[in-house]
């Protein structure tokens, strides 16, 4: 790398190329420590979360059969919302990252898992694991930055269209899973030209999403309500509410991951010939955490430890909390900004950015020094 940054001060201006490589080595060592102890505890943990989630979902759906009665509606809807959040965040997201592949349990495996989401798992794995995690925060490569519909950077050209971006963002939040599906299909780009529209792979993907949407809709808005008999409409409303709650929640958590103030973005050219150390550094500067209780971490699928997740995407997420202590010490040692804050603050910060960037701005005056630290090998002894 490492130009970046759209930051007023270059956060890595003080690092030498050797520093960056030793950061890489130290992070590898942290990873090895987790690998050495990964095992039974992690397997038991994910099995337990799955068990709790399955029970909660079944229980809530059973209660909702009587959702004509307001207390049942409230309890069932709350339960189903939590169940859906757990399913997507702590279970689906993490299993699809291959975090539990080490168990060799074909049932709990990134190649077989399917989730309660309109995007089929394999499409999501491509756009998320492969593209987003490899090109984290590289403008133009990583579309997670604004999902291709928002202006996310002062240097991006302003267009009147962006005035409405707070509204787009709100709509996207409410129907987030559909937004993700469209995004994973790369709809914006693929619909533009006839050639792309007719591409067989694209067509097959659209079909797969269509099939998944149909089944998801059928389940939440027809079958489950129908089983509830006289509670039909109430159950339907409960399912809708649970889906919206889950969408709002995951959207908020995900916005906090790369959007809040203090997070760096990178230029396309900055990743040419990137070393492992440089890749690590980009993950460190391009992600932000959410601080909070253990419950919050579980409900965010431990994406509250976004920094640790981006450094080690395939380590079991429940290990991130212990890893975070060491990672944070490393940030301090190398004097790097570890962006973190409570959920409301981070969400507000991300929204403030969305709103701020919906308006035109002058070219940032205090542009950062974009010089790249000299590349290895440079270790000439400095004469005293």
């Amino acid at each position: 790398m490492t130009t970046l940054q759209r930051q007023e001060v270059n956060p890595i201006g003080h690092l030498t190329a050797e520093d960056i490589e030793s950061i890489g080595r130290e992070l590898d060592a942290i990873r090895d420590e987790v690998l050495a102890v990964r095992g039974e505890r992690d397997a038991a943990y994910i099995r337990k979360v799955i068990k709790v989630q399955r029970r909660l979902e079944i229980g809530s759906r059973a209660v909702l059969l009587f959702s004509l009665f307001p207390p049942a509606w409230i309890v069932g809807t709350a339960g189903l919302s939590v169940a859906k959040i757990l399913e997507n965040m702590e279970i689906g997201h993490n299993i699809l990252h291959g975090q539990y592949d080490f168990m060799r349990d074909p049932k709990i495996h990134s190649t077989t898992w399917e989730w309660d989401h309109v995007t089929p798992a394999d499409q999501w794995k491509h756009s998320h694991n492969e593209i987003h995690h490899k090109y984290t925060n590289v403008v133009g490569k990583d579309n997670d930055l604004g999902y291709g519909i928002m202006r996310v950077d002062e240097n991006q050209r302003w267009q009147p269209f962006f005035l409405a971006q707070p509204l787009w963002n709100l709509i996207n939040a409410l129907f987030f899973e559909y937004g993700i599906a469209a995004y994973d299909l790369n709809l914006g780009r693929n619909l533009k030209s006839k050639k792309r529209r007719n591409d067989p792979e694209f067509k097959a993907n659209v079909k797969a999403v269509g099939r998944k949407i149909r089944r998801q809709m059928l389940k939440d808005y027809i079958i489950h309500p129908a089983l509830s008999g006289p509670s039909f409409l109430h159950t339907m409303a409960a399912n809708f509410t649970a889906n919206v709650v889950r969408n709002l929640w995951s959207h908020s958590v995900i916005m906090c991951g790369h959007f809040p103030n203090g997070v760096s973005t990178f230029e396309r050219t900055s990743i040419k010939g990137e070393t492992r150390g440089e890749w690590y550094l980009r993950q460190m500067l391009g992600s932000a955490n959410i601080s909070g209780s253990k419950l919050l971490h579980i409900m965010t699928g431990n994406l509250s430890h976004q920094i640790e997740h981006h450094l080690f995407p395939d380590l079991p997420a429940s290990r991130y909390a212990e890893v975070a202590v060491k990672v944070r010490a490393l940030f301090e040692k190398y004097d790097l900004p570890y962006v973190t804050g409570p959920l409301p603050v981070q969400v507000a910060s991300a929204w403030a950015k969305v709103i701020r960037l919906s308006f035109p701005n002058r070219k940032p005056t205090k542009a950062a020094d974009h010089t790249i630290p000299p590349r290895m090998p440079v270790a000439e002894p400095v004469p005293a």
């Binding site: 039974e40 799955i50 060799r104 492969e130 490899k134 998944k212 059928l218 089983l227």
Partner: protein, 368 residues
């Protein structure tokens, strides 16, 4: 006339069955994207017909180094034939490892129960785990019975069983099931010392009852059994249909001996595959479906090596984070180039390996 017993439009399927299937389909819709059994698993793991499991009903200690597990297979089980083996999938420190064990109990237990006898082998992760931790109530994963180490329906007039060490396990299964159907049975069994003889008591009882002729060989005192010794011990050696199970060298020597006597078709052997693979640097990678074979040094990923040889490889990030490059390794040994972790697979394991960060550490067979 209307009759409720009339087969439905679906042909042979009775109405109740159709109704049940219909109801099941509704349940499937509500549990989408997973299947109902994924929920059922939470309460009743043995009832899942797609994932065969077994519950350990009892654990009997055989010798200091061997235990017998009494297993009750769940739904989807198919009874075994005497002499066959089953594969058990056991989670050792959170990782599911599969090993084959011969069924040692008599076939045809009314509840479908089977026994397997586990001998602790050196460096054997699974066997030592089972020896220490197997308890009543434990659930293990199971595969359908397999193997052709069986006695044909047309029972032979004279039979011979040659076993060494834990090689007695499948033979014990055969004897317990069929000894009354076999007329002239000789068993030659060798073990290091008398206390090491698994099922020693059972074998001696059968001998006392006159059902078998038992020849025990203690290798600690008398040395290894050589095939030539058999000529002396069993005078009508090549007239007998012979089943042998034991260490590879013994079986190889026997195969040679029987071939020399032009009696190969009378010898049936069962090999216990050794699971000990030694990690080296690089190796020959074979892509089984395409037939591509490539020689790779230790520092080159299987992904790169495969592509260089013209093999079509799935790939993504090429740096170990996206898991889109995984391929099943049927057998072999690889090393993670980032941290040096070694992963091995024996036939039937199909361990998924990330080809972009794995280098061959010995011969590897990939299912691609």
């Amino acid at each position: 006339m209307l009759s409720f017993a009339r087969p439905s439009r679906l042909g042979q399927v009775p109405v109740t069955q159709t109704l049940r299937n219909g109801a099941w389909r509704v349940v499937e819709l509500i549990t989408t994207p997973v299947v109902p059994t994924d929920y059922l698993d939470v309460i009743a793991p043995l009832r899942n017909p797609n994932v065969l499991r077994a519950r350990v009903e009892a654990v009997h200690r055989e010798t200091a180094n061997a235990v017998t597990l009494e297993l009750r297979p769940g739904r989807g089980w198919r009874p075994h034939e005497p002499g066959q083996y089953v594969r058990l999938g056991v989670d050792v420190d959170g990782i599911r490892l599969w090993r084959s064990y011969s069924v040692s109990s008599a076939a045809g237990h009314p509840s479908g129960r089977i026994n397997v006898t586990v001998n602790a082998v050196r460096d054997g992760l699974v066997s030592s785990y089972l020896l220490k931790h197997a308890r009543r109530g434990m659930v293990v994963n199971l595969d359908l019975p397999a193997g052709d180490f069986v006695v044909p329906r047309q029972r032979p007039a004279k039979s011979l069983f040659v076993t060494a060490g834990s090689g007695i396990t499948p033979v014990m299964g055969i004897l317990r099931s069929l000894v009354h159907e076999l007329s002239d049975v000789t068993v030659v069994h060798s073990a290091r010392v008398s206390e090491d003889v698994v099922f020693g008591a059972d074998l001696r009882t059968l001998a006392e009852q006159g059902k078998i002729t038992l020849i025990e060989r203690l290798t600690g005192a008398d040395g290894r059994l050589k095939p030539a010794d058999l000529d002396v011990l069993v005078p009508d050696l090549f007239e007998r249909e012979t089943w042998a199970c034991g260490p590879g060298e013994m079986l190889d020597a026997m195969a040679e001996h029987w071939a020399e006597a032009e009696a190969s078709e009378r010898l049936h052997v069962e090999r216990f595959r050794s699971t000990v693979l030694i990690a080296g640097e690089g190796g020959t990678v074979t892509f089984e479906k395409s037939g591509t074979v490539v020689e790779t040094p230790g520092g080159v990923s299987i992904l790169d090596a495969g592509e260089a040889a013209g093999q079509l490889m799935p790939s993504g990030c090429r740096m170990g984070i996206c898991y889109s490059c995984v391929l099943p390794m049927r057998e072999g040994i690889v090393r993670d180039m980032r941290d040096g972790t070694v992963t091995t697979a024996v036939e039937g394991d199909n361990v998924l390996v990330q080809t972009c960060i794995s280098a061959a550490a010995g011969p590897c067979h990939l299912d691609a």
